[in-house]
Symmetry: C2
Subunit: 396 residues, 2 copies
């Protein structure tokens, strides 16, 4: 048999711990707080069915044919309007393109910006898929410490002024993955100013912004942009459905032109069928009603999980309450070993992800875990938190 000679980048590629974990969890009796899936109850499945039906009846060839790389033009225009619904996000110098999920925007950007050994600064802990993506494009990661109101600014400045200037700072300001933390307005402005001062582009990833079920929306960092510094990636997986694989990416037109050329060689274009269905939804359906339904689902699930924790854990497992998104980031009391706690929960058929999995240095000690409330049913939420309480009691 041939021995493949792999590139240096391959050494940096690690399978997502969570995806591997989830694959092994085929056991249907297992309750999973470990996933990161949006709530399927909120998918506008019936609308998608109707729209697709119409498109394939009346415009089949135009729906199923090859298309242009930058995306279906009506969706790019509608996406631009959508991004500007609340805040002035897109600038005169910006363009909007369609990517195959926002994961693809990360992949293309790191390919465009990183030579082997270049540095990317990222929130720490951060979204695992982003860390893997940057690393698999040859980047070294520098972590920026996270706080309940967003990245620690001193830590950010240290990352921006390290030995090697980062090619990018990666952030999820709304309901961050894995912490659920939301970056305050003041910190968003400070992040923009710091990155501007040091000439480091910002990749602002906003997969969860529409999942705010209480409190006030905070302007995205992109809305402060006056320099073409911010690339804004907006997944439509949580608003519509992940199976469609569609995201919007907004940024300086020259950069997005290069992203488009790169994307030609990566996947030619994003699934046209999905793009046209979403475009028609924006044109003909009640988007606000969709959001209202969506937020209702997430509000109820988050509330139920937080209520369960407040009622059953006697404050021994602490967490920062969230106003949206899909995740909580509870912390175990000192002295309780996280890995053992998670192992014991798994023995009781409850899956959780240990927090250290999300850190740049996966070996650093961490008393936290990621808990997802969007995927489990109400009964699973009740039962899962009861398992946590029981396990905790046995370990104290």
């Amino acid at each position: 048999m041939i021995q493949y000679e792999y590139s240096d980048k391959v050494n940096a590629m690690k399978p997502s711990i969570i995806r591997e974990l989830l694959k092994q969890m085929a056991d249907p009796t297992l309750i999973s707080f470990a996933g990161g899936n949006p709530s399927a109850e909120a998918f506008p499945a019936e609308e998608i069915r109707k729209i697709s039906d119409e498109l394939l009846r009346d415009e089949a060839a135009a729906t199923l044919q090859y298309s242009i790389t930058e995306g279906y033009p009506p969706l790019r225009a509608l996406g631009r309007e959508y991004l500007n619904r609340q805040f002035a996000v897109t600038k005169d110098y910006d363009d909007v393109i369609i990517t195959s999920g926002s994961q693809q925007a990360m992949d293309i950007l790191s390919k465009l910006l990183c030579n082997d050994g270049d540095v990317v600064a990222t929130e720490d802990p951060a979204f695992l898929g982003a860390m893997n993506c940057f690393r698999s494009n040859g980047a070294q990661l520098v972590g920026v410490q996270m706080e309940a109101d967003g990245p620690n600014l001193a830590s950010l400045e240290a990352a921006l002024t390290g030995d090697k200037k980062p090619k990018l700072f990666y952030t999820i300001p709304n309901f961050q993955n894995p912490t659920g933390y939301t970056t305050s307005l003041a910190k968003r402005k400070a992040i923009y100013e710091l990155c501007k001062k040091h000439g480091v582009p910002i990749l602002e990833d906003n997969p969860y912004g529409e999942l705010r079920f209480t409190g006030e929306d905070i302007p995205p960092i992109k809305s402060f942009d006056e320099e073409g510094l911010v690339i804004y990636a907006v997944s439509l997986s949580k608003v519509f459905a992940p199976g469609l694989r569609v995201a919007l990416c907004c940024g300086e037109a020259g950069l997005l032109g290069k992203m488009t050329v790169a994307k030609q060689g990566i996947d030619v274009h994003t699934t046209l069928w999905s793009q046209r269905v979403i475009a028609k939804f924006f044109e003909q359906y009640d988007f606000d009603a969709l959001l209202q339904k969506l937020r209702g689902v997430y509000r109820a699930k988050a509330r139920r999980m937080m209520d369960n924790m407040d009622a059953k854990l006697d404050g021994r497992i602490t967490y920062v309450p969230v106003e949206g998104g899909m995740f909580l980031w509870p912390t175990l009391p000192d002295g309780v070993d996280v890995q053992a706690f998670i192992k014991n929960c798994l023995d009781h058929k409850l899956a959780l992800v240990p927090g250290n999995a999300f850190f740049v240095d996966g070996n650093a000690p961490c008393q936290s875990m990621r808990m997802n409330f969007s995927t489990p049913t109400n009964e699973q939420i009740d039962e899962g938190v009861s398992i946590m309480a029981k396990v905790l009691k046995s370990m104290l």
Copy 2:
């Protein structure tokens, strides 16, 4: 405004001449032989509509949710069966994964195998999307001369034994893009032996194999594989529809495992909706009937274009007749300037692509052009060849 500091790879990225050309050709009176789209008449649109309707009615959550990176398991199993319908393609040591078009298999493979400056050997001329993809992953291209029965073997051996051993040899053995040439059985075996001798993996790309409308199918190189040497990429864009963005990739399981990890960071997974629709088509519909219809459409169009050329060009523009695929590769008589001919045709509202666009060295002289017969209507084929005849006459 910020000045982005791009990676070295960006210098190698060029927009596809054809895609740029086509974007400028919004003129609806233009006849295009320049494209590379499959014939929309052959899309099983009604079947796709029915299946999608059922899926979104009965299994909406499972159709629209996130999925695993390696692909929808039933489609992987059905894909394996499909690949083995005629020839023993998949081996015990092989795995089959789903990619977002076969373009993605090229992208992932070059990421896995190539460091900056590594060499990829490719047919010359070759599929432009592949060349751009390899280059944008840092590879240098070495061309292997094409003949009517496939790659020139001396030229292949020279490429395999050059200063740097290639990380990959890229080939389309059936109805190649851009030439329409099909590699003979003898040459397929010789290619496998040469690559085996020199330890160079083969990326066998088979987008057009099912579009054979006359003659006998020839076994894929992958069917000779005993070493895990061949990665076999099979687009489903021409059999079903490109707007679905689904392809099969078959190769040694260890390599495909690494491809899966890389794909996690690239686009998480291929559009699940499309994958499930294709799986259900394989399960419940008459695939042979689909192929028969498909081949009928391509046979008629190819026949019409070749008949037109035979009737109108007095043998002055020569070509190798094709038994399938989407392209002809006609050659102008010596003394007729190709660029001028194409410019004159465009003035008469006919678009063609100059052959030199498809060569590793785009500046090398080339008397050929790529002509696509799958996209134009019958009337456009008649009229387009008449324009070629008129222009040629004016230039002789």
